[in-house]
């Protein structure tokens, strides 16, 4: 089938310092990924079209972009699902550097601000694993799936307005530790998230949850964090 693509272009180096769209018509199969179409264009029609990609099956998180108005991974969006008229834009709220490539630094800086690592220096005397029941492990399973693609954060209306909001991805990653029975800094993380710029900026628009390519229940995770804060903290 013939697919009509409208692709966002911006590259000040090549004189394209006002964002605009290029259009392409290419042949595709219904089961083609949008990423396949972009590769086809880059390989055969216009090599200057720029985007990030690596694993091509939804686990590395490189190719988050806005496809037909909604954040997705290009490698998880199939033609049969997005239709034959496809508009591709960079994710919103991070500075666009070239075409679909945005500056990820603010995103990763926010991620790092919430101590995204287990804090617990006590290890069992026998050097073996700390024990954790399957139920305790299940408690934070959902948020361990995050691949830091930024699809959630850049779909968030609050983040578009206010880049000081830590954003859904950061809260998801904080959640992963807050509810890990092995972590000893849950309340410290919660205190940071209780401040402005934290979890209470969430307006439950659910764009993050809809956008998450890993189907993490992002809004719910944020709600759990809010709840943990208002109930005075987490005890393991």
């Amino acid at each position: 089938m013939l697919v009509y693509l409208k692709i966002y272009r911006y590259n000040p180096e090549a004189g394209r310092n006002v964002p605009s769209f290029d259009t392409y018509n290419i042949e595709a199969e219904p089961t083609d990924r949008v990423l396949d179409l972009l590769e086809e264009i880059k390989g055969h029609i216009d090599g200057t079209v720029s985007f990030r990609r690596s694993c091509a099956h939804g686990v590395c998180g490189s190719d988050a972009m806005r496809i037909n108005g909604r954040n997705m991974l290009a490698c998880k969006a199939l033609v049969k699902d997005v239709g034959t008229e496809i508009t591709i834009e960079p994710i919103l709220g991070l500075p666009v550097l070239k075409d679909m490539i945005v500056d990820m630094e603010p995103f990763f800086n926010s991620y790092k601000s919430l101590m995204p690592f287990l804090i617990n220096e006590d290890v069992p005397a026998d050097g073996k694993e700390r024990l954790q029941s399957p139920e305790q492990r299940e408690r934070f399973d959902d948020t361990t799936k995050c691949i830091l693609c930024a699809a959630c954060t850049t779909s968030c209306p609050v983040f578009w307005s206010d880049d000081q909001y830590v954003g859904p991805a950061t809260i998801v990653n904080a959640h992963r530790f807050i509810f890990d029975s092995r972590d000893q800094a849950a309340n410290k993380r919660l205190e940071i998230l209780a401040d402005h710029g934290g979890a209470f900026r969430c307006r439950t628009a659910f764009n993050c949850t809809e956008a998450c390519p890993r189907e993490i229940h992002v809004t719910q995770a944020i709600a759990e964090v809010k709840n943990a804060i208002t109930s005075g903290g987490v005890e393991h």
């Binding site: 206010d162 401040d195 209470f200």
Partner: protein, 123 residues
């Protein structure tokens, strides 16, 4: 675990928005339905208001409505302001201005409620 997350302003305000919101549903809906639908703007004049404000019950009702609705609204506005203004100093200045605005308008409203209407002054 010893440490507790202490409620800060944002947390308390967040709770306030939820509780006041719930409270406002009967208060505001009844008020709007009564005045706009049942009575209607064509039936309202200063004499009507004067009668209402002579009744301690209605005054209390209106007073609660004023207190919660306007605070709820102004805090909501502050959220929108935080969305659009990012400089901490500007945020602080605007927050203070909004606080003053809230106090002044509330005071004006409260005064009128407390003192009642003065239809006799209409020329």
């Amino acid at each position: 675990m010893a440490s507790q997350v202490k409620p800060n302003f944002e947390t308390t305000a967040w709770r306030f928005m939820r509780y006041s919101g719930i409270l406002l549903i009967p208060l505001a809906w009844f008020h709007v339905y009564l005045q706009d639908v049942i009575v209607g703007v064509h039936a309202i004049d200063i004499d009507y208001v004067a009668v209402r404000l002579a009744d301690a019950g209605w005054v209390t009702y209106n007073f609660l409505l004023l207190l919660f609705a306007f605070a709820h609204g102004m805090y909501g506005l502050r959220q929108v302001m935080f969305d659009l203004v990012h400089k901490p100093s500007t945020r602080r200045i605007l927050s203070i201005l909004m606080l003053i605005f809230w106090l002044v308008v509330s005071a004006i409203g409260a005064t009128a409620l407390a003192m009642g209407a003065r239809p006799e002054l209409v020329q």
